[in-house]
């Protein structure tokens, strides 16, 4: 099981390297989608099924879909692919960065060993850790819940003002 988790973790880091050294924004969005999917796998393996589902729905299904169609703003007639010469240099550079971090980690911070604590509470609980944890929002976290909702509503209006255009909005030179 831990080898499975390690594989998910490795694929997560692999696709995050793919986001950073993307030759074109289309490949960057694809790498981020796949990296988030493997990140969900890591969280599921640790027992956090609720946080993984939230990541999948809200992050992948909400935010990354918006990024995917906003990458049409960066449309080029001939997008550069992964096999171009300049891009390979960056991929090699980031792979060396990861290898350097692994070497430093095993020497300095003793990265290694397998075994994780998972989210099943000890005893007769039927609710797992993350389901029960997020429900704190409705009691102790009620004020922060309302503040976050208010912030999201304000964000909507700020975005509408920014993209209004033709000297009616915040950026008057458009």
């Amino acid at each position: 099981m831990m080898y499975f988790m390690f594989l998910f973790g490795f694929c997560f880091v692999f696709w995050m390297v793919g986001v950073s050294c993307n030759p074109s924004p289309y490949y960057g969005v694809l790498s981020l989608v796949l990296g988030a999917a493997f990140g969900c796998g890591v969280l599921v393996g640790m027992g956090g099924s609720f946080v993984s589902l939230v990541l999948f729905l809200i992050y992948l299904g909400g935010m990354l879909v918006v990024f995917a169609y906003s990458s049409a703003l960066a449309a080029e007639p001939y997008p550069v692919g992964w096999g171009s010469l300049g891009g390979v240099v960056y991929v090699v550079g980031y792979a060396l960065l990861i290898i350097g971090l692994v070497v430093m980690g095993s020497c300095l911070w003793c990265v290694g060993g397998f075994g994780e604590v998972t989210a099943d509470a000890v005893g007769l609980f039927v609710v797992r850790l993350d389901f029960g944890g997020v429900s704190w929002f409705y009691y102790y976290g009620s004020v922060m819940f309302l503040v976050a909702g208010w912030g999201l509503l304000l964000t909507l209006f700020v975005v509408l003002e920014l993209v209004r255009g033709l000297s009616r909005g915040a950026l008057s030179s458009i």
Binding site: G9, V13, M16, V17, V19, S20, C21, N22, P25, G28, V29, L32, G35, A36, G39, V42, L43, M46, G47, G48, V51, L55, I58, Y59, M63, L64, V66, F67, S70, S71, A74, Y94, L97, L101, V102, G105, C110, V111, G112, G115, E116, V117, D130, G132, G133, W136, Y140, G141, M144, A148, G151, L152, T155, L156, V158, V159, L162, V163, L171, I174
Partner: protein, 98 residues
């Protein structure tokens, strides 16, 4: 540091390196910012799972909602810069260049 901690740590380092260096388009920079937020979400989710403290599960939820706000801001600035400068290439944002 366990290997799972190392995954989000190295993902954050790689994303912040990609944010600060060599990107051609503004949207690639915003994508690196999003991958930083993803690694922070994983960090904040793993912490209460490993310490078995369920009330700290609020932090990744709050972080995700505020990162959604920030992504919306970034994309609206991308649209605005694409209108003024014609494209979102970072070479065009050169007002402070000497």
């Amino acid at each position: 540091m366990t290997p799972m901690h190392f995954t989000y740590y190295s993902a954050f380092i790689v994303s912040i390196t990609g944010l600060s260096l060599h990107q051609t388009h503004l949207i690639s920079t915003l994508l690196c910012l999003e991958s930083m937020m993803l690694s922070l979400y994983m960090a904040l989710s793993m912490w209460p799972i490993q310490l078995q403290t369920s009330s700290f599960m609020l932090t990744p939820m709050l972080m995700l909602s505020f990162s959604a706000c920030e992504a919306g801001m970034g994309l609206s600035l991308l649209v605005a810069s694409s209108r003024t400068h014609g494209s979102d290439r970072l070479q065009n944002l050169n007002l402070l260049q000497c």
